[in-house]
């Protein structure tokens, strides 16, 4: 059977424009949250977010490194973040200059939950105020979700499968899982896989706030707003950015002497069939996604050292934890589980991929990132190491990453260090 390993990583997050800066700040317990600077948010219920910082910031992102200025002008931020993260991952894997036959077997599966909402908002105002003849000819392809995969394939000449998942906040996890299956199925030897989001715009923030999903009671204390599992949590903090990994068939990676970070061993998917925004109160969908991932991996919960939770800082946190508790049984006492959304906010379609990369780095460095702001753990969190406040050094050989999205769509991925 063809095995799938990870050989390259790329990140653009509110804590850094690259993998090592983001990870260093995450482990140091920094928060990427602050007042919204992209637009005047004074009339919004939620006035805070985890924005990707500008290039001149201590841990900012410089789009000019990997994205042509012409492309930057034509596309929404999520595409810019995605192109850059994909470029980082290819550079990390040593694959920026592939021979033609390798490019024919290299593809892209980089999705987004929402796509180009800022551009849709802006251009609809142009249409309304100035008429159809002023709408940009780049409007459509600068907003479409599959245009990260499109742009990346054009930039690097990747002629294998070209795919883009759209499953809300499970996008990043499904992207990696689906791409791993394409490699297993022999559709490709190399897949760039991940997700991106960039919806910190008036319509995006207002929409999530009206759905009662966003935090609205910490506008004066943004760094304390994302507090998964804490008694005082009251909604997620929106983040933005991208995470992209290079997935590669194991023998292919070994033959070219690639650095192998981890093996993708389990992938589970399920639907809640319950409600458009709320998870099933028993966490049944989450349970079944995790259960399927374990079955595929041929592993049991006792094998898992670290769980990167979906943990959005909403009421759903304890539902997920309940499902983990039922599935893990006694094994819950030997693992650590944290939500990195406490530091970088919720990257929506990018979350699953960014968090998968944090899981891989936890295995590389044998340290698990903290859950910030966990001052008063809520009822139902007893007996679980939720890694409050500070990163923790520990053995990490296998990890589980959960992602759940609006529409009741669930994905779980299990990765482990190579034997």
């Amino acid at each position: 059977m063809r095995r799938v390993v990870v050989t390259g990583l790329g990140l653009v997050t509110p804590l850094g424009g690259d993998v090592e800066t983001s990870w260093k700040n995450l482990i140091a317990g920094k928060s990427g949250a602050g007042p919204i600077t992209r637009f005047d948010a004074s009339d919004q219920k939620c006035q805070i977010a985890c924005e990707v910082k500008p290039a001149d910031h201590e841990y900012g992102f410089d789009p000019n490194k990997r994205v042509d200025t012409k492309v930057q002008r034509q596309v929404d931020p999520f595409i810019i973040y995605g192109i850059d993260a994909a470029g980082q991952a290819l550079e990390d894997a040593g694959l920026t200059d592939m021979p033609e036959e390798m490019k024919l077997r290299a593809g892209c599966s980089i999705g987004s939950g929402i796509g180009g909402l800022p551009g849709i908002e802006k251009e609809s105002i142009v249409l309304h105020e100035r008429g159809p003849s002023r709408v940009s000819p780049h409007f459509v392809h600068g907003r479409l979700i599959n245009l990260i995969s499109g742009q990346v394939s054009i930039k690097y000449g990747l002629m294998g499968p070209n795919h883009a998942v759209v499953t809300a906040c499970s996008t990043g996890a499904h992207s990696i899982g689906d791409a791993a299956r394409m490699i297993k199925d022999d559709d490709a030897d190399i897949m760039l896989a991940g997700g991106a989001e960039g919806t910190i715009n008036p319509l995006g923030v207002a929409g999530f706030a009206q759905a009662r999903a966003l935090n609205t009671s910490f506008n004066d204390r943004p760094e304390q707003a994302s507090r998964p599992y804490d008694k005082d949590r009251d909604g997620f903090v929106m983040g933005e950015g991208a995470g992209v990994v290079v997935l590669e068939e194991y023998e292919h990676a070994k033959a070219r002497g690639a650095t192998i970070y981890a093996e993708v061993v389990g992938y589970g998917l399920s639907g809640d069939a319950y409600h458009v925004t709320a998870p099933h109160p028993d966490g049944y969908g989450a349970y079944r996604a995790m259960e399927m991932a374990f079955k595929k991996a041929g592993m049991t919960p006792a094998d898992i050292d670290y769980v990167n939770a979906h943990g959005t800082s909403t009421m759903a946190d304890t539902i997920e934890l309940g499902a983990v508790r039922r599935l893990f049984g006694d094994a819950i006492s030997t693992m650590s589980m944290s939500s990195t959304k406490s530091a970088i906010g919720h990257l929506l379609g990018g979350a699953g991929a960014v968090e998968a990369i944090f899981c891989i780095l936890a295995m590389r460095d044998q340290i698990v990132p903290p859950t910030l702001n966990l001052d008063t753990p809520d009822e139902g969190t007893e007996g679980v190491d939720l890694v409050p406040h500070k990163a923790k050094e520990r053995t990490v050989n296998a990890v589980l990453n959960n992602s759940f999205g609006f529409g009741g769509t669930n994905a779980s991925i299990i990765m482990k260090k190579l034997d």
Partner: protein, 78 residues
Amino acid sequence: MSDTAERVKKIVVEHLGVEADKVTPDASFIDDLGADSLDIVELVMAFEEEFGVEIPDDAAEKIATVGDAIKYIEEHKG
């Protein structure tokens, strides 16, 4: 260089992300400056905006070089 030429050049540099010294009157948008047909639609919109002229589709199709654009604008601006 005329005022029109300077302003056209500035728009082309901004929209196509090319070096200013490549934007000569003889430069073809597609062959020399890396534009595609959609970039030309966008450039024409930017010229219309900047100079307050209307460039109909059939006229826009004939604008192949920077010089063609400058000439059309010089002849049609108010």
